[in-house]
């Protein structure tokens, strides 16, 4: 765990040392800020459900830019040779990479806390949905990052990793549309689709089934990433 933590820490520093980290952070704040103030200006809505769901779309575009470099860049630059010949297991490396990107994403989320704080200043909204919504967002972003990490493990080209991740995330998002209906397969698609589990968080409910879904989704992706990394060594 200490090793994974060292890798995660290096990863977060490296986001702050690189233009890509600042671009993602800046673009994120600009877009979600616009959604927030636009919602207040046009509709005067005193709650954040709409904002959470708009933010998911922003994340589909921006999170692949965070994850594309995680393993693809290591492979392309060859730095993976020093990393993987250190006493680091594949699991520690994958966990460290995930926690690094997720940690940066959490910093992005923390910066948006100004929005609910502003709301409580302007009015007296129900605060419950804020807490649960942020927990949901943290988990939700984790699933996207885990998908991006897996795809980043499968290529040495960062552009391919970005486009591939964007495609898969869009697909996961579209599933929730295709799944709007009552047939068993539509229910199944809704269950698989990652964003659909966010709704109840945004409404203020913490359903353990949703938490379980997100955590197992992340776990599954990380497991596949470990396998992808091992398979790459045997190539």
């Amino acid at each position: 765990m200490r090793t994974a933590y060292a890798i995660a820490e290096r990863e977060i520093r490296s986001y702050f040392a690189s233009p890509i980290g600042w671009i993602v952070l800046g673009a994120f704040m600009a877009l979600v800020g616009w959604f927030f103030w636009a919602a207040i200006a046009y509709a005067g809505i005193g709650e954040m459900r709409m904002w959470f769901s708009n933010t998911t779309i922003v994340l589909i575009i921006l999170l692949p830019a965070l994850t594309m470099r995680l393993l693809a860049e290591e492979r392309q630059r060859g730095t993976i040779e020093i990393l993987m010949t250190s006493p680091v297991t594949d699991t520690q490396a994958v966990l460290g990479k995930f926690l690094g990107a997720w940690g940066f994403y959490c910093v992005m989320l923390l910066m948006t806390l100004q929005f609910p704080i502003t709301l409580t200043r302007l009015a007296t909204p129900d605060r419950g949905p804020f807490y649960s919504g942020y927990l949901g967002m943290a988990l939700f972003g984790g699933t996207f990052i885990a998908v991006g990490l897996l795809i980043s493990a499968m290529t040495r080209n960062q552009v391919v990793a970005y486009v591939g991740t964007l495609f898969v995330l869009l697909f996961l998002w579209l599933l929730s549309w295709a799944g709007s209906g009552d047939a068993w397969w539509q229910t199944l698609l809704t269950y698989i689709s990652v964003p659909s589990h966010l709704d109840s968080f945004a409404k203020g409910m913490i359903d353990t089934r949703d938490v379980f879904f997100y955590l197992s989704f992340i776990g599954g992706m990380l497991f596949l990433t470990v396998r992808a990394l091992a398979a790459w060594k045997w190539r």
């Binding site: 520093r13 490296s14 060859g78 730095t79 020093i82 010949t85 250190s86 006493p87």
Partner: protein, 320 residues
């Protein structure tokens, strides 16, 4: 300390190395010598656990590199050929990261980093970003990261490539200083480097080992003849005749240096040392003896013979 047994690696259907076997004793410096594409980097990548072998085993300090991989890697420091470093970090940050990942306790990280920087002489660049460093300094950072956790075994893939002559000497001194405390395997194309630094040499060619021995024994083993070089002021023909008359001489050639002065090369049996006889002869005839010495067959000659399919002193054939 390092034992390599029957190591074989196929890339697809292509065998990069086949049945490579050798061992390195504790505290020894082993030179890994071979032409391009011989399989040096492949062997090192397997020993460091970066890629698994197709067949065979490698152990580091008794730990199998595939079975007990983490324990084996804990004892290793590795400088890859291309020196891949995280460019956006400063030297100090990077080395601290490496130390932590290798299991150096948090409180002793700064001391380990300082020591590694001091021994590779990069302390003055401690806070420079790595992408701003020159090739030679990057190479030093690469060596420093291999040393930072004081591993028992160091594997260095062409450590002096791209350095200026002064740095080459410094790095060689650094590596020589590791003898005894660390076990070192280094690969190189540079023959004098092996002679200067290494206790033993493994010569690999086309993925198979062609020789393992000390540099001296290797040259001696291949050396069938002895050569004496002598420079004399005197008449050419009588000089050649007289030298040919010495016991055990196989061949004498002469080359004119200036008017009346010739440099001769005398090839004789290995058992014969002709130096004293030749000197006595020249003086007895009243010629001027200007220079006398033996020409040792260099490691270079040995290397050329072992790594080329056709022996060097025979015409090259097209048979493959």
């Amino acid at each position: 300390m390092v034992e390599v047994n029957g190591l074989t690696k196929y890339y697809g259907a292509y065998a990069a190395i086949e049945d490579v076997t050798f061992r390195v004793e504790p505290g020894e410096i082993l030179g890994f010598l071979g032409p391009n594409a011989a399989g040096k980097t492949t062997t090192m990548r397997i020993i460091t656990g970066f890629m698994p072998p197709t067949a065979g085993t490698a152990t580091v300090d008794g730990f199998d590199i595939t079975g007990d991989s983490v324990a084996a890697r804990r004892r290793l420091g590795y400088l890859p050929e291309q020196v891949p470093l995280y460019e956006d970090m400063s030297v100090r940050e990077y080395l601290a990261f490496c130390a932590r990942v290798r299991g150096v306790g948090r409180s002793s990280v700064p001391a380990s980093v300082d020591r590694a920087m001091a021994s590779t002489r990069i302390t003055e660049y401690a806070d420079s970003l790595i992408f701003k460093l020159s090739k030679g300094y990057r190479q030093r950072v690469g060596i420093a990261q291999a040393l930072v956790h004081e591993p028992a075994v160091l594997i260095l893939d062409e450590p002096t490539v791209g350095l200026d002559p002064r740095q080459i000497i410094e790095v060689r001194e650094l590596i020589k200083g590791l003898r005894g405390d660390h076990t070192v395997i280094l690969s190189t194309h540079i023959l004098p480097e092996v002679q200067m630094v290494c206790d033993r040499v493994v010569i690999i060619s086309d993925g198979t080992i062609v020789a393992i021995d000390t540099p001296e024994a290797l040259t001696a083993r291949i050396q069938q003849t002895q050569q004496v070089r002598i420079e004399v002021r005197g008449p050419e023909m009588p000089l050649l005749e007289a030298l040919k008359g010495l016991p055990g001489v196989q061949e004498v050639s002469a080359e004119r240096v200036e008017d009346g002065v010739f440099r001769c090369l005398i090839v004789s049996d290995r058992s014969q040392d002709l130096r004293e006889g030749a000197a006595a002869l020249v003086i007895q005839r009243g010629w001027g003896l200007r220079e006398l010495g033996t020409m040792a067959l260099s490691l270079e000659d040995v290397y050329m013979r072992l790594t080329s399919e056709a022996p060097v002193d025979e015409p090259h054939g097209e048979d493959r």
